[in-house]
Protein backbone atom coordinates (compact mmCIF):
# COMPACT_ATOMS: atom_id res chain seq x y z
CA UNK A 1 0.00 0.00 0.00
CA UNK A 2 1.12 3.52 -0.66
CA UNK A 3 2.09 6.18 1.88
CA UNK A 4 -0.84 8.06 3.36
CA UNK A 5 -0.99 11.66 2.29
CA UNK A 6 0.23 10.97 -1.23
CA UNK A 7 -2.19 11.11 -4.10
CA UNK A 8 -1.41 7.58 -5.32
CA UNK A 9 -4.11 6.32 -2.94
CA UNK A 10 -5.35 2.80 -2.85
CA UNK A 11 -4.93 0.22 -5.60
CA UNK A 12 -7.28 -2.47 -6.88
CA UNK A 13 -5.06 -5.07 -5.21
CA UNK A 14 -5.27 -3.18 -1.90
CA UNK A 15 -9.06 -3.19 -2.10
CA UNK A 16 -9.10 -6.93 -2.84
CA UNK A 17 -6.88 -7.54 0.20
CA UNK A 18 -9.05 -5.32 2.45
CA UNK A 19 -12.21 -7.03 1.20
CA UNK A 20 -10.69 -10.33 2.27
CA UNK A 21 -9.92 -8.95 5.74
CA UNK A 22 -13.49 -7.59 5.88
CA UNK A 23 -14.94 -10.99 4.85
CA UNK A 24 -16.67 -9.64 1.74
CA UNK A 25 -16.38 -11.66 -1.51
CA UNK A 26 -16.17 -8.69 -3.89
CA UNK A 27 -16.66 -9.54 -7.56
CA UNK A 28 -14.19 -8.41 -10.26
CA UNK A 29 -16.76 -5.90 -11.47
CA UNK A 30 -17.10 -4.45 -7.96
CA UNK A 31 -13.32 -4.20 -7.59
CA UNK A 32 -13.16 -2.29 -10.88
CA UNK A 33 -15.85 0.09 -9.73
CA UNK A 34 -15.12 0.53 -6.01
CA UNK A 35 -11.33 0.81 -6.12
CA UNK A 36 -11.19 4.14 -8.01
CA UNK A 37 -14.01 5.55 -5.86
CA UNK A 38 -12.15 4.60 -2.69
CA UNK A 39 -8.98 6.22 -4.03
CA UNK A 40 -10.85 9.52 -4.52
CA UNK A 41 -12.38 9.37 -1.04
CA UNK A 42 -9.05 8.50 0.57
CA UNK A 43 -7.30 11.34 -1.20
CA UNK A 44 -9.89 13.72 0.17
CA UNK A 45 -9.84 12.50 3.78
CA UNK A 46 -6.01 12.40 3.84
CA UNK A 47 -6.12 16.13 4.70
CA UNK A 48 -6.40 15.11 8.37
CA UNK A 49 -2.80 13.90 8.29
CA UNK A 50 -1.67 17.54 8.43
CA UNK A 51 -2.24 17.34 12.20
CA UNK A 52 -0.55 13.93 12.57
CA UNK A 53 2.68 15.33 14.00
CA UNK A 54 1.00 17.91 16.24
CA UNK A 55 0.77 17.32 19.96
CA UNK A 56 -3.01 17.18 20.34
CA UNK A 57 -4.76 14.65 22.61
CA UNK A 58 -7.05 12.33 20.61
CA UNK A 59 -10.80 12.31 21.24
CA UNK A 60 -12.48 8.93 20.84
CA UNK A 61 -15.74 10.01 22.41
CA UNK A 62 -17.60 13.31 22.60
CA UNK A 63 -18.60 12.91 26.22
CA UNK A 64 -16.02 11.82 28.83
CA UNK A 65 -16.76 8.19 29.68
CA UNK A 66 -16.60 6.49 33.02
CA UNK A 67 -17.18 2.88 33.82
CA UNK A 68 -20.78 2.28 34.81
CA UNK A 69 -21.64 -0.21 37.53
CA UNK A 70 -24.93 -1.73 38.58
CA UNK A 71 -26.00 -4.08 41.32
CA UNK A 72 -25.39 -7.71 40.42
CA UNK A 73 -29.03 -8.78 40.47
CA UNK A 74 -30.90 -11.17 38.21
CA UNK A 75 -33.20 -9.53 35.68
CA UNK A 76 -35.24 -10.99 32.85
CA UNK A 77 -33.40 -11.86 29.64
CA UNK A 78 -34.32 -13.55 26.38
CA UNK A 79 -35.78 -17.06 26.45
CA UNK A 80 -33.88 -19.66 24.40
CA UNK A 81 -36.69 -19.54 21.82
CA UNK A 82 -36.39 -15.75 21.55
CA UNK A 83 -32.62 -15.89 21.30
CA UNK A 84 -32.83 -18.46 18.51
CA UNK A 85 -35.78 -16.83 16.74
CA UNK A 86 -33.66 -15.15 14.06
CA UNK A 87 -31.13 -17.95 13.56
CA UNK A 88 -30.57 -19.14 9.98
CA UNK A 89 -30.38 -22.73 11.27
CA UNK A 90 -31.18 -24.25 14.67
CA UNK A 91 -30.21 -27.67 15.94
CA UNK A 92 -31.25 -28.99 19.37
CA UNK A 93 -31.83 -25.49 20.80
CA UNK A 94 -28.45 -24.30 19.55
CA UNK A 95 -27.20 -22.14 16.68
CA UNK A 96 -26.16 -24.48 13.85
CA UNK A 97 -23.18 -23.05 11.96
CA UNK A 98 -21.00 -24.19 9.06
CA UNK A 99 -17.75 -25.99 9.86
CA UNK A 100 -15.27 -23.64 11.48
CA UNK A 101 -12.04 -25.53 10.68
CA UNK A 102 -10.30 -25.77 7.30
CA UNK A 103 -10.25 -28.95 5.15
CA UNK A 104 -6.69 -29.71 6.18
CA UNK A 105 -7.50 -29.55 9.89
Amino acid sequence: MSDPGTSAGITRADVAHLAGLSRIDLTDEELDRLAPQLAVILDSVATVSQVASQDIPPTSHAVPLQNVFREDVVRPGLTPEEALSGAPLVDQQRFAVPRILGEEA
Binding site: M1, I24, Q37, L38, T47, V51, H61, G86, P88, F95
Partner: protein, 508 residues
Protein backbone atom coordinates in the same frame (compact mmCIF):
# COMPACT_ATOMS: atom_id res chain seq x y z
CA UNK B 1 -64.44 21.17 19.08
CA UNK B 2 -66.26 20.29 15.90
CA UNK B 3 -65.73 17.08 13.98
CA UNK B 4 -62.83 17.12 11.57
CA UNK B 5 -62.61 15.56 8.14
CA UNK B 6 -59.77 13.04 7.79
CA UNK B 7 -58.04 15.47 5.42
CA UNK B 8 -57.78 18.00 8.25
CA UNK B 9 -57.15 15.42 10.95
CA UNK B 10 -53.88 14.28 9.37
CA UNK B 11 -52.74 17.89 8.99
CA UNK B 12 -53.01 18.69 12.71
CA UNK B 13 -49.77 19.09 14.63
CA UNK B 14 -49.16 16.36 17.21
CA UNK B 15 -49.84 18.83 20.03
CA UNK B 16 -53.17 19.90 18.49
CA UNK B 17 -54.13 16.28 17.91
CA UNK B 18 -53.20 15.46 21.52
CA UNK B 19 -55.48 18.29 22.70
CA UNK B 20 -58.40 16.91 20.67
CA UNK B 21 -57.77 13.41 21.96
CA UNK B 22 -57.75 14.78 25.51
CA UNK B 23 -61.03 16.69 25.11
CA UNK B 24 -62.72 13.73 23.46
CA UNK B 25 -63.50 15.38 20.11
CA UNK B 26 -61.36 12.78 18.30
CA UNK B 27 -60.50 9.20 19.26
CA UNK B 28 -57.11 7.63 18.77
CA UNK B 29 -58.69 4.94 16.59
CA UNK B 30 -60.05 7.68 14.28
CA UNK B 31 -56.71 9.47 14.14
CA UNK B 32 -54.73 6.28 13.64
CA UNK B 33 -57.09 5.03 10.91
CA UNK B 34 -56.90 8.41 9.13
CA UNK B 35 -53.10 8.12 8.99
CA UNK B 36 -53.25 4.48 7.86
CA UNK B 37 -55.64 5.56 5.09
CA UNK B 38 -53.24 8.34 4.09
CA UNK B 39 -50.36 5.84 3.98
CA UNK B 40 -52.46 3.55 1.77
CA UNK B 41 -53.26 6.49 -0.52
CA UNK B 42 -49.85 8.11 -0.98
CA UNK B 43 -47.09 5.76 0.13
CA UNK B 44 -47.02 3.95 -3.19
CA UNK B 45 -45.59 7.18 -4.57
CA UNK B 46 -43.60 8.38 -1.54
CA UNK B 47 -42.30 5.03 -0.21
CA UNK B 48 -41.59 6.34 3.27
CA UNK B 49 -42.49 3.03 4.90
CA UNK B 50 -40.81 -0.37 4.75
CA UNK B 51 -43.44 -1.93 6.99
CA UNK B 52 -46.90 -0.83 8.11
CA UNK B 53 -48.44 -2.36 11.24
CA UNK B 54 -52.10 -1.40 10.92
CA UNK B 55 -53.33 -4.06 13.32
CA UNK B 56 -50.82 -3.25 16.08
CA UNK B 57 -51.34 0.51 15.73
CA UNK B 58 -55.14 0.20 15.90
CA UNK B 59 -54.92 -2.15 18.91
CA UNK B 60 -52.81 0.40 20.80
CA UNK B 61 -55.21 3.16 19.75
CA UNK B 62 -58.25 1.22 20.97
CA UNK B 63 -56.52 0.50 24.27
CA UNK B 64 -55.70 4.18 24.79
CA UNK B 65 -59.28 5.18 23.92
CA UNK B 66 -60.64 2.66 26.45
CA UNK B 67 -58.27 3.86 29.18
CA UNK B 68 -59.17 7.47 28.47
CA UNK B 69 -62.87 6.66 28.55
CA UNK B 70 -62.32 5.02 31.95
CA UNK B 71 -60.88 8.27 33.25
CA UNK B 72 -57.28 7.10 33.51
CA UNK B 73 -54.73 9.95 33.45
CA UNK B 74 -52.61 9.53 30.31
CA UNK B 75 -49.33 10.99 29.01
CA UNK B 76 -49.71 14.06 26.73
CA UNK B 77 -48.98 12.19 23.50
CA UNK B 78 -51.03 9.08 24.34
CA UNK B 79 -52.96 8.04 21.24
CA UNK B 80 -50.92 10.18 18.80
CA UNK B 81 -49.58 7.83 16.09
CA UNK B 82 -45.86 7.72 15.27
CA UNK B 83 -43.51 6.20 12.68
CA UNK B 84 -40.16 4.69 13.69
CA UNK B 85 -36.98 4.55 11.62
CA UNK B 86 -36.14 0.98 10.69
CA UNK B 87 -32.84 1.10 12.62
CA UNK B 88 -34.58 0.81 16.01
CA UNK B 89 -35.39 -2.68 17.26
CA UNK B 90 -39.12 -3.30 17.49
CA UNK B 91 -40.40 -6.48 19.08
CA UNK B 92 -42.77 -8.28 16.74
CA UNK B 93 -42.09 -5.92 13.82
CA UNK B 94 -39.38 -6.40 11.16
CA UNK B 95 -36.21 -4.35 11.61
CA UNK B 96 -34.09 -4.33 8.47
CA UNK B 97 -31.96 -1.14 8.65
CA UNK B 98 -32.68 -0.86 4.92
CA UNK B 99 -30.42 -3.87 4.31
CA UNK B 100 -30.91 -7.23 2.61
CA UNK B 101 -28.75 -8.83 5.30
CA UNK B 102 -31.53 -8.22 7.85
CA UNK B 103 -34.48 -8.82 5.52
CA UNK B 104 -37.38 -10.16 7.58
CA UNK B 105 -35.50 -10.06 10.90
CA UNK B 106 -37.94 -9.61 13.79
CA UNK B 107 -36.11 -8.57 16.97
CA UNK B 108 -37.04 -10.35 20.20
CA UNK B 109 -36.75 -7.07 22.14
CA UNK B 110 -37.60 -3.37 21.92
CA UNK B 111 -35.17 -0.45 21.80
CA UNK B 112 -35.56 1.76 24.89
CA UNK B 113 -36.94 4.57 22.70
CA UNK B 114 -39.60 2.16 21.41
CA UNK B 115 -40.38 0.91 24.94
CA UNK B 116 -40.98 4.52 25.99
CA UNK B 117 -43.29 5.14 23.03
CA UNK B 118 -45.28 2.02 23.86
CA UNK B 119 -45.44 2.87 27.57
CA UNK B 120 -46.80 6.33 26.70
CA UNK B 121 -49.50 4.82 24.46
CA UNK B 122 -48.32 6.01 21.02
CA UNK B 123 -49.66 3.74 18.24
CA UNK B 124 -46.67 2.72 16.07
CA UNK B 125 -47.77 3.00 12.42
CA UNK B 126 -44.72 1.21 11.03
CA UNK B 127 -41.03 1.37 10.17
CA UNK B 128 -39.56 4.00 7.89
CA UNK B 129 -37.15 3.68 5.01
CA UNK B 130 -33.49 4.65 5.32
CA UNK B 131 -30.12 4.39 3.66
CA UNK B 132 -28.67 0.96 4.42
CA UNK B 133 -27.40 0.99 8.03
CA UNK B 134 -27.89 4.79 7.91
CA UNK B 135 -25.04 5.26 5.44
CA UNK B 136 -26.09 7.99 3.05
CA UNK B 137 -27.70 11.38 2.60
CA UNK B 138 -30.48 10.55 0.14
CA UNK B 139 -32.19 7.27 1.20
CA UNK B 140 -31.15 5.94 -2.23
CA UNK B 141 -28.84 3.42 -0.56
CA UNK B 142 -31.84 1.53 0.86
CA UNK B 143 -31.90 -2.04 -0.43
CA UNK B 144 -35.67 -1.66 -0.79
CA UNK B 145 -35.69 1.32 -3.14
CA UNK B 146 -35.53 5.06 -2.47
CA UNK B 147 -38.02 7.28 -0.67
CA UNK B 148 -39.35 10.20 -2.74
CA UNK B 149 -39.50 13.81 -1.55
CA UNK B 150 -43.18 14.83 -1.12
CA UNK B 151 -42.32 18.30 -2.55
CA UNK B 152 -41.13 16.75 -5.81
CA UNK B 153 -41.32 12.99 -6.22
CA UNK B 154 -38.33 13.01 -8.59
CA UNK B 155 -36.08 14.29 -5.81
CA UNK B 156 -34.39 12.82 -2.76
CA UNK B 157 -35.91 13.30 0.73
CA UNK B 158 -32.46 13.52 2.31
CA UNK B 159 -30.88 10.78 4.32
CA UNK B 160 -30.29 8.60 5.97
CA UNK B 161 -33.67 9.21 7.60
CA UNK B 162 -35.51 10.20 4.43
CA UNK B 163 -38.37 7.84 5.28
CA UNK B 164 -39.14 9.48 8.64
CA UNK B 165 -38.90 13.02 7.21
CA UNK B 166 -41.03 12.18 4.15
CA UNK B 167 -43.63 10.45 6.36
CA UNK B 168 -44.25 13.61 8.41
CA UNK B 169 -43.96 15.91 5.36
CA UNK B 170 -46.54 13.83 3.45
CA UNK B 171 -48.91 13.81 6.46
CA UNK B 172 -48.58 10.03 6.78
CA UNK B 173 -47.62 10.49 10.45
CA UNK B 174 -47.61 13.51 12.76
CA UNK B 175 -44.45 12.28 14.50
CA UNK B 176 -41.48 10.08 13.66
CA UNK B 177 -38.26 8.90 15.26
CA UNK B 178 -34.99 9.43 13.39
CA UNK B 179 -31.33 8.84 14.13
CA UNK B 180 -28.52 11.27 13.41
CA UNK B 181 -24.89 10.16 13.05
CA UNK B 182 -23.72 12.97 10.75
CA UNK B 183 -26.95 14.80 9.93
CA UNK B 184 -29.45 12.03 9.20
CA UNK B 185 -32.25 13.77 11.13
CA UNK B 186 -31.40 17.41 10.35
CA UNK B 187 -30.58 17.26 6.61
CA UNK B 188 -33.79 15.35 5.69
CA UNK B 189 -35.67 17.91 7.80
CA UNK B 190 -34.15 20.76 5.79
CA UNK B 191 -34.91 19.30 2.35
CA UNK B 192 -38.50 18.25 3.22
CA UNK B 193 -39.55 21.44 5.05
CA UNK B 194 -39.87 19.70 8.42
CA UNK B 195 -38.29 19.91 11.88
CA UNK B 196 -35.56 17.55 13.08
CA UNK B 197 -33.55 17.45 16.30
CA UNK B 198 -30.31 15.71 17.14
CA UNK B 199 -30.13 15.73 20.95
CA UNK B 200 -26.90 15.98 22.94
CA UNK B 201 -24.93 12.73 22.60
CA UNK B 202 -26.17 10.51 25.45
CA UNK B 203 -29.42 12.46 25.81
CA UNK B 204 -31.53 9.69 24.27
CA UNK B 205 -30.79 6.00 24.88
CA UNK B 206 -29.00 4.05 22.16
CA UNK B 207 -30.12 0.69 23.58
CA UNK B 208 -31.70 -1.28 20.75
CA UNK B 209 -30.53 1.17 18.08
CA UNK B 210 -28.53 -0.84 15.53
CA UNK B 211 -25.15 0.89 15.75
CA UNK B 212 -23.53 2.63 12.79
CA UNK B 213 -20.84 4.66 14.60
CA UNK B 214 -21.34 4.25 18.33
CA UNK B 215 -19.56 7.45 19.34
CA UNK B 216 -21.72 9.56 16.97
CA UNK B 217 -25.19 7.94 16.79
CA UNK B 218 -28.08 9.70 18.45
CA UNK B 219 -31.86 9.20 18.10
CA UNK B 220 -34.21 12.16 18.08
CA UNK B 221 -37.55 13.69 17.03
CA UNK B 222 -38.76 14.20 13.44
CA UNK B 223 -41.85 16.44 13.34
CA UNK B 224 -43.66 19.29 11.58
CA UNK B 225 -43.42 21.80 14.45
CA UNK B 226 -40.84 22.74 17.07
CA UNK B 227 -43.33 22.21 19.92
CA UNK B 228 -44.05 18.67 18.67
CA UNK B 229 -40.32 17.93 18.65
CA UNK B 230 -40.10 19.24 22.23
CA UNK B 231 -42.96 17.00 23.38
CA UNK B 232 -41.36 13.96 21.74
CA UNK B 233 -37.88 14.80 23.04
CA UNK B 234 -39.11 14.93 26.63
CA UNK B 235 -40.82 11.57 26.12
CA UNK B 236 -37.86 9.64 24.65
CA UNK B 237 -35.02 11.45 26.46
CA UNK B 238 -33.47 10.91 29.86
CA UNK B 239 -31.25 8.38 31.53
CA UNK B 240 -31.31 4.69 30.60
CA UNK B 241 -29.26 2.24 32.67
CA UNK B 242 -29.11 -0.05 29.61
CA UNK B 243 -26.92 2.44 27.71
CA UNK B 244 -23.60 3.05 29.44
CA UNK B 245 -23.15 6.33 27.51
CA UNK B 246 -26.55 7.65 28.59
CA UNK B 247 -26.33 10.95 30.48
CA UNK B 248 -27.51 10.47 34.05
CA UNK B 249 -29.72 13.56 34.13
CA UNK B 250 -33.36 14.34 33.35
CA UNK B 251 -34.45 15.21 29.80
CA UNK B 252 -34.30 18.95 29.03
CA UNK B 253 -37.30 21.20 29.66
CA UNK B 254 -37.89 21.41 25.93
CA UNK B 255 -41.61 22.21 25.99
CA UNK B 256 -41.15 25.13 28.36
CA UNK B 257 -38.32 26.45 26.18
CA UNK B 258 -40.46 26.18 23.03
CA UNK B 259 -43.00 28.44 24.70
CA UNK B 260 -40.56 31.30 25.25
CA UNK B 261 -41.08 34.14 22.79
CA UNK B 262 -38.31 36.60 23.55
CA UNK B 263 -34.83 36.47 22.03
CA UNK B 264 -33.73 39.98 23.11
CA UNK B 265 -30.17 39.87 24.42
CA UNK B 266 -29.61 36.31 23.19
CA UNK B 267 -26.10 35.96 21.76
CA UNK B 268 -26.16 34.28 18.34
CA UNK B 269 -23.02 33.27 16.44
CA UNK B 270 -23.03 32.80 12.68
CA UNK B 271 -20.35 30.24 11.81
CA UNK B 272 -18.11 31.73 9.12
CA UNK B 273 -16.92 28.32 7.88
CA UNK B 274 -20.49 27.01 7.36
CA UNK B 275 -21.66 29.25 4.57
CA UNK B 276 -20.67 31.17 1.48
CA UNK B 277 -18.92 29.23 -1.26
CA UNK B 278 -20.49 25.85 -1.98
CA UNK B 279 -23.87 26.91 -0.58
CA UNK B 280 -26.75 27.30 -3.05
CA UNK B 281 -27.82 30.99 -3.42
CA UNK B 282 -31.40 30.30 -2.32
CA UNK B 283 -30.18 28.49 0.79
CA UNK B 284 -27.93 31.43 1.69
CA UNK B 285 -30.67 34.01 0.99
CA UNK B 286 -33.19 32.31 3.30
CA UNK B 287 -30.47 31.92 5.94
CA UNK B 288 -29.61 35.63 5.82
CA UNK B 289 -33.30 36.46 6.34
CA UNK B 290 -33.40 34.35 9.52
CA UNK B 291 -30.28 36.11 10.79
CA UNK B 292 -31.95 39.48 10.10
CA UNK B 293 -35.13 38.38 11.91
CA UNK B 294 -33.11 37.51 15.01
CA UNK B 295 -31.30 40.85 14.88
CA UNK B 296 -34.55 42.77 14.50
CA UNK B 297 -35.92 40.96 17.55
CA UNK B 298 -33.01 42.17 19.66
CA UNK B 299 -30.65 39.19 19.52
CA UNK B 300 -26.94 40.09 19.42
CA UNK B 301 -25.69 38.48 16.23
CA UNK B 302 -21.95 38.14 15.68
CA UNK B 303 -19.82 36.15 13.27
CA UNK B 304 -17.66 33.47 14.87
CA UNK B 305 -14.89 31.42 13.33
CA UNK B 306 -14.45 27.68 13.86
CA UNK B 307 -11.41 27.04 11.64
CA UNK B 308 -11.14 23.31 12.38
CA UNK B 309 -14.61 22.71 10.92
CA UNK B 310 -12.84 22.73 7.54
CA UNK B 311 -11.40 19.32 8.46
CA UNK B 312 -14.60 17.93 10.00
CA UNK B 313 -15.82 16.13 6.88
CA UNK B 314 -12.47 14.38 6.40
CA UNK B 315 -12.26 13.36 10.07
CA UNK B 316 -15.84 12.12 10.00
CA UNK B 317 -15.28 9.93 6.94
CA UNK B 318 -12.41 8.23 8.74
CA UNK B 319 -14.00 7.89 12.19
CA UNK B 320 -17.37 6.72 10.91
CA UNK B 321 -16.09 3.97 8.57
CA UNK B 322 -13.66 2.82 11.26
CA UNK B 323 -16.41 2.39 13.83
CA UNK B 324 -18.83 1.01 11.23
CA UNK B 325 -16.41 -1.63 9.96
CA UNK B 326 -16.13 -2.89 13.52
CA UNK B 327 -19.84 -2.61 14.38
CA UNK B 328 -20.95 -4.37 11.18
CA UNK B 329 -18.64 -7.33 11.84
CA UNK B 330 -21.55 -8.81 13.80
CA UNK B 331 -23.40 -9.51 10.55
CA UNK B 332 -21.67 -12.84 10.12
CA UNK B 333 -24.52 -15.15 9.04
CA UNK B 334 -24.32 -17.16 12.25
CA UNK B 335 -26.97 -16.10 14.79
CA UNK B 336 -29.46 -14.02 12.80
CA UNK B 337 -29.95 -12.42 9.42
CA UNK B 338 -29.12 -13.67 5.95
CA UNK B 339 -27.02 -16.80 5.33
CA UNK B 340 -25.93 -17.78 1.85
CA UNK B 341 -23.22 -20.22 0.78
CA UNK B 342 -20.58 -19.51 -1.88
CA UNK B 343 -21.51 -20.81 -5.33
CA UNK B 344 -19.92 -24.11 -6.32
CA UNK B 345 -18.37 -24.93 -2.95
CA UNK B 346 -19.26 -28.19 -1.22
CA UNK B 347 -19.40 -27.99 2.58
CA UNK B 348 -18.12 -24.41 2.76
CA UNK B 349 -16.44 -23.15 5.93
CA UNK B 350 -18.00 -20.58 8.24
CA UNK B 351 -15.54 -18.04 6.88
CA UNK B 352 -16.57 -18.72 3.28
CA UNK B 353 -20.26 -18.50 4.20
CA UNK B 354 -19.58 -15.24 6.02
CA UNK B 355 -17.85 -13.68 3.01
CA UNK B 356 -20.52 -14.87 0.56
CA UNK B 357 -23.31 -13.63 2.83
CA UNK B 358 -21.77 -10.20 3.33
CA UNK B 359 -21.18 -9.92 -0.42
CA UNK B 360 -24.83 -10.74 -1.11
CA UNK B 361 -26.32 -8.88 1.85
CA UNK B 362 -24.52 -5.51 1.78
CA UNK B 363 -24.94 -2.77 -0.81
CA UNK B 364 -22.24 -0.64 -2.45
CA UNK B 365 -22.07 2.14 0.13
CA UNK B 366 -21.79 -0.29 3.05
CA UNK B 367 -19.00 -2.15 1.25
CA UNK B 368 -17.18 1.11 0.50
CA UNK B 369 -17.29 2.22 4.12
CA UNK B 370 -16.34 -1.15 5.62
CA UNK B 371 -13.29 -1.28 3.34
CA UNK B 372 -12.39 2.34 4.07
CA UNK B 373 -12.67 1.70 7.81
CA UNK B 374 -10.62 -1.48 7.61
CA UNK B 375 -7.94 0.47 5.75
CA UNK B 376 -7.95 3.38 8.25
CA UNK B 377 -7.53 0.97 11.15
CA UNK B 378 -4.73 -1.06 9.49
CA UNK B 379 -1.42 -1.06 11.31
CA UNK B 380 0.93 1.35 9.55
CA UNK B 381 -1.96 3.62 8.58
CA UNK B 382 -3.67 3.95 11.94
CA UNK B 383 -1.69 6.97 13.19
CA UNK B 384 -1.93 8.89 9.93
CA UNK B 385 -5.65 8.29 9.41
CA UNK B 386 -7.67 7.24 12.44
CA UNK B 387 -5.26 8.80 14.94
CA UNK B 388 -5.20 12.11 13.07
CA UNK B 389 -8.98 12.11 12.75
CA UNK B 390 -9.25 11.77 16.52
CA UNK B 391 -6.95 14.78 16.93
CA UNK B 392 -9.14 16.77 14.55
CA UNK B 393 -12.09 15.78 16.70
CA UNK B 394 -10.36 17.43 19.67
CA UNK B 395 -9.77 20.61 17.64
CA UNK B 396 -13.44 20.73 16.62
CA UNK B 397 -14.57 20.34 20.23
CA UNK B 398 -12.18 23.18 21.19
CA UNK B 399 -13.66 25.39 18.44
CA UNK B 400 -17.14 24.77 19.87
CA UNK B 401 -15.91 25.50 23.42
CA UNK B 402 -14.35 28.79 22.31
CA UNK B 403 -17.44 29.77 20.31
CA UNK B 404 -19.83 29.02 23.18
CA UNK B 405 -17.79 31.27 25.48
CA UNK B 406 -18.84 34.15 23.24
CA UNK B 407 -22.36 33.14 22.18
CA UNK B 408 -25.36 31.16 23.45
CA UNK B 409 -26.16 29.40 20.16
CA UNK B 410 -24.56 28.94 16.75
CA UNK B 411 -26.40 29.27 13.44
CA UNK B 412 -25.79 27.93 9.94
CA UNK B 413 -27.72 26.61 6.97
CA UNK B 414 -28.56 22.94 7.65
CA UNK B 415 -27.72 21.64 4.18
CA UNK B 416 -25.71 23.43 1.50
CA UNK B 417 -28.32 22.63 -1.17
CA UNK B 418 -32.01 21.88 -1.61
CA UNK B 419 -33.15 18.37 -2.55
CA UNK B 420 -31.34 17.08 -5.63
CA UNK B 421 -32.70 14.72 -8.27
CA UNK B 422 -32.79 11.01 -7.50
CA UNK B 423 -29.72 9.39 -9.01
CA UNK B 424 -27.74 12.64 -9.39
CA UNK B 425 -24.99 11.77 -6.91
CA UNK B 426 -25.24 8.00 -6.70
CA UNK B 427 -21.96 7.33 -8.51
CA UNK B 428 -20.10 10.20 -6.88
CA UNK B 429 -19.78 9.30 -3.18
CA UNK B 430 -17.67 12.34 -2.32
CA UNK B 431 -20.27 14.76 -3.67
CA UNK B 432 -22.92 12.92 -1.61
CA UNK B 433 -20.74 13.24 1.51
CA UNK B 434 -20.60 17.04 1.07
CA UNK B 435 -24.33 17.18 1.89
CA UNK B 436 -23.35 16.71 5.54
CA UNK B 437 -20.68 19.39 5.72
CA UNK B 438 -22.67 21.64 8.07
CA UNK B 439 -24.22 18.95 10.26
CA UNK B 440 -21.16 16.74 10.96
CA UNK B 441 -19.30 19.02 13.43
CA UNK B 442 -22.12 18.66 16.00
CA UNK B 443 -21.86 14.86 15.94
CA UNK B 444 -18.09 14.89 16.31
CA UNK B 445 -18.38 17.15 19.39
CA UNK B 446 -21.58 15.59 20.77
CA UNK B 447 -23.46 18.91 20.87
CA UNK B 448 -27.19 19.17 20.07
CA UNK B 449 -28.69 20.66 16.90
CA UNK B 450 -32.08 21.42 15.38
CA UNK B 451 -33.12 22.08 11.79
CA UNK B 452 -36.09 24.38 11.24
CA UNK B 453 -37.60 25.31 7.84
CA UNK B 454 -36.29 28.67 6.60
CA UNK B 455 -38.28 29.01 3.38
CA UNK B 456 -38.12 28.05 -0.29
CA UNK B 457 -35.11 28.66 -2.53
CA UNK B 458 -35.88 31.16 -5.31
CA UNK B 459 -34.12 29.12 -8.01
CA UNK B 460 -36.06 25.87 -7.55
CA UNK B 461 -38.93 26.53 -5.11
CA UNK B 462 -37.72 23.76 -2.80
CA UNK B 463 -37.43 23.88 1.03
CA UNK B 464 -34.35 25.16 2.83
CA UNK B 465 -33.43 24.74 6.49
CA UNK B 466 -31.60 26.66 9.20
CA UNK B 467 -29.60 24.84 11.85
CA UNK B 468 -29.26 25.97 15.48
CA UNK B 469 -26.49 24.41 17.61
CA UNK B 470 -26.13 24.66 21.40
CA UNK B 471 -23.58 23.48 23.97
CA UNK B 472 -23.82 19.88 25.23
CA UNK B 473 -26.85 19.35 27.50
CA UNK B 474 -28.22 22.83 26.62
CA UNK B 475 -30.80 21.28 24.26
CA UNK B 476 -33.49 23.60 25.66
CA UNK B 477 -31.86 26.50 23.77
CA UNK B 478 -32.59 24.74 20.46
CA UNK B 479 -36.29 24.78 21.26
CA UNK B 480 -36.25 28.38 22.42
CA UNK B 481 -34.51 29.69 19.28
CA UNK B 482 -36.14 27.15 16.94
CA UNK B 483 -39.64 28.08 18.11
CA UNK B 484 -38.83 31.77 17.70
CA UNK B 485 -37.65 31.27 14.11
CA UNK B 486 -40.66 29.12 13.28
CA UNK B 487 -43.13 31.61 14.74
CA UNK B 488 -41.49 34.66 13.17
CA UNK B 489 -41.39 33.09 9.70
CA UNK B 490 -44.94 31.72 9.90
CA UNK B 491 -46.13 35.23 10.86
CA UNK B 492 -44.24 36.82 8.00
CA UNK B 493 -45.51 34.31 5.44
CA UNK B 494 -49.02 34.10 6.90
CA UNK B 495 -48.88 30.29 6.71
CA UNK B 496 -46.64 27.33 7.52
CA UNK B 497 -44.07 26.25 4.96
CA UNK B 498 -45.55 22.76 4.59
CA UNK B 499 -48.94 24.19 3.62
CA UNK B 500 -47.19 25.21 0.36
CA UNK B 501 -46.22 21.62 -0.52
CA UNK B 502 -48.06 20.26 -3.56
CA UNK B 503 -51.03 17.99 -2.90
CA UNK B 504 -49.96 14.45 -3.55
CA UNK B 505 -51.92 12.44 -6.06
CA UNK B 506 -54.15 10.28 -3.90
CA UNK B 507 -54.58 6.67 -4.99
CA UNK B 508 -58.11 5.36 -4.64
Amino acid sequence: MSALADRDLIRLSASDLAARLADGSVTSVQATQAHLDRIAAVDGAVHAFLHVDAEGALATAADVDARRAAGEPLPTLAGVPIAVKDVLATRGMPTTCGSRILEGWVPPYDATVVSRLRAAGLPILGKTNMDEFAMGSSTEHSAYGPTHNPWDLDRIPGGSGGGSAAAVAAFEAPLAIGTDTGGSIRQPGAVTGTVGVKPTYGGVSRYGLVALASSLDQAGPVTRTVLDAALLHELIGGHDPRDSTSIDAPAPSAVEAAGRTDVAGLRVGVVRELGGEGYQPGVSARFDEVVALLSEAGAEVVEVSCPSFEMALAAYYLILPSEASSNLAKFDAMRYGLRVGPAGVDAPSAEQVMAATREAGFGDEVKRRIILGTYALSSGYYDAYYGSAQKVRTLIARDFDAAFEKVDVLLSPTSPTTAFKLGAKLDDPLSMYLQDVATIPANLAGVPGISVPSGLADEDGLPTGVQVLAPATADARLYHVGAFIERALDERWGHTLLSQAPDLEVAR
